[in-house]
Symmetry: C2
Subunit: 366 residues, 2 copies
């Protein structure tokens, strides 16, 4: 099967680029003396997770319990669930997951939740590995750094069925700061309280074995912190337009990682000389960013969304009008929610489909 | 199984409201002497399609061939594929679909495509039922009204394996015009050339049996046109925030159809008094509209997106702080791309899960 045989719209992964991305991040973490637990919420694909682990990752981070269940079932271990698990039914599912994958880590940010987890784990004869989730300015989940985090760590330690392993501090608000120096300054400011919290907790006699954080945007920034033990960057393996534009240390683009993910579409209508329609729209690309998909090595057209199932191409170079049936690829604005629209990834070696990978955790936000 | 047992985030359909919506549109079309072929791109769910047909619809419209394949396999007939089918592989799939479901209609807007379809259908011994797709100002697919449409209709008629059945003119740009009178004026202006094209083609001796168009927004506007034979409204069966705000004939809301679709979430973090986090974000709601999900009968909180997997609730009423583990439902901004994120619909009768329906055509934009 070749590129031209794939029904469109479809999600394509350039394996050469993808493999270089995986190797580059793994080598970087190794050289910096950090562990790597890439975020699987980016790809939701067990085959990608397996390749990340083969390249040296400890396991993968999962945004949700449902995502972790799929990864565990596929044999992936070293899971970290980065969102709190609070509802009774979810806690029951968690116990089953941990029975199958005992090294799974979870995060907590609430005293009552810690006590409930401790009670349920004890009743099930399970030990839960726990990180305290610290809000480093992302204003999402996480307890305040400093004394509140220390108090919560003590609550964890007081539960015999819970094992306090360390901290999570995800500075999502720094990941896409444009310009390397500005991003470095933002991340330093965000993570300083996390580092201080680590010191405070260790001074209180509780060993902090793991401090997890970092993003694709701060991959070469956060490793300079001695107190950070592992990176949970996700997007680097496939990249997207949002990350490409933030700028790397060297220059204008985050050039260290390559744009490996595209959506292939077909021109299904050429109604006027200045306009053509492709068969990918709101259901084929992420729509949460203020910029549209960008054509790949196909100058002369500009994409705008035109409903659920269509993209409108404005012809900017009349000497290259799109042909009916022409296949045009686009880089998606945001990789995670784009991949989450597809059941499979076509893994391409040049123009050949080398494999088709199941996005097995697609839709598993539960 | 009750509402409280459903793993979150999940998609819920209020059956009482849904059934009233289905009945209301069916009765309206019947009273107006129009046929109804609701757009299945809204729901992508064969069970919803079957219920629409049971209530009196001719069949369903499908945005794409892949969607139609799923509906056909589920036994739904009277399909209209509203996007042009142009690639050789897609045309082969189309022939198989039409062999199984011979009453399927497709649309064309290009002479070369008509000739290819005619040749392939003749080679396969298949007859294809064809509508000429007319651009009524939506600037998406469709040939220009008037002479170009007539010429294309003649090209269809000249192909022995194609059967010219009529016209499609979808005025998507009018569907969400706010204010009933403004919307009426917009739709009248858009559809006037379609009506004139119908007259011109019939005057040329080609019977125009079908003229398909209309949206949920113009459901009680377009039926006043004698030349329109069928409505392809979709969203009315479940509704969404975008349609609710356009205003009906009577007043401030499109009150004739009820908000039947919600996403249920769980509060997974209550880190500060003014903020709580729910477990639904960019992967749980449509993100293509400039307004966020809105909580259902749960005042005191305002939702903003906070990444792939989280919604941030700003507490606007300190007397009603969200509790950890509290379940909160939201109306989605845009129904079609929201449903397309989920593999199943929980069909609710009050607080009881009466059935779980498979969104079998989810992701089938191909």
């Amino acid at each position: 099967m070749t590129r031209d045989d794939i029904p469109t719209p479809a999600l394509l992964l350039d394996l050469d680029r993808f493999e270089r991305n995986i190797r580059r991040m793994a080598a970087h973490a190794r050289a910096a003396g950090k562990n790597l637990r890439p975020h699987a919420k980016t790809h939701r694909c067990p085959e990608v997770a397996r390749r990340q682990v083969s390249a040296g990752a400890l396991g993968v981070a999962c945004a949700k319990l449902g995502e972790a269940e799929v990864m565990a079932r596929a044999g992936v271990r070293g899971l970290l669930i980065t969102t709190e698990v609070v509802s009774p039914a979810a806690i029951r599912r968690l116990m089953q997951l941990v029975s199958a994958a005992p090294d799974t880590l979870l995060v907590v940010d609430n005293t009552d939740n810690v006590k409930t987890l401790g009670r349920e784990a004890a009743a099930d004869g399970v030990t839960l590995n726990v990180l305290v989730d610290v809000d480093v300015g992302n204003r999402r989940t996480g307890i305040a750094p400093g004394e509140p985090a220390l108090a919560l760590a003590r609550t964890v330690v007081a539960q015999p069925a819970l094992r306090f392993r360390g901290l999570q501090g995800y500075a999502g608000h720094c990941a896409h700061v444009i310009g390397w120096e500005a991003r470095q300054a933002a991340s330093r400011a965000a993570l300083a309280p996390l580092m201080a919290t680590r010191t405070m907790i260790e001074a209180a006699g509780l060993p902090v074995e793991i401090v997890a954080g970092g993003s694709t945007g701060t991959w070469d920034i956060d490793v300079e912190l001695p107190g950070l033990t592992e990176l949970q960057a996700g997007s680097y393996c496939v990249m997207d337009l949002e990350y490409r534009r933030i700028g790397g240390r060297a220059g204008a683009t985050l050039g260290e990682f390559e744009m490996a993910l595209t959506v292939i579409t077909t021109v299904v209508s050429t109604p006027t000389a200045d306009r053509a329609m492709v068969d990918g729209g709101l259901k084929s690309f992420s729509t949460d960013k203020p910029f549209p998909p960008e054509s790949v090595e196909r100058p002369g057209v500009e994409f705008t969304f035109a409903g659920d199932e269509h993209g409108r191409l404005t012809v900017t170079d009349p000497s290259r009008p799109p042909r009916l049936g022409e296949r045009i690829e686009f880089f998606p604005p945001h990789c995670d929610p784009t991949i989450n629209l597809y059941d499979r990834i076509y893994a391409m070696r040049g123009d050949t489909v080398e494999a088709v990978w199941d996005v097995a955790a697609r839709g598993r936000s539960d």
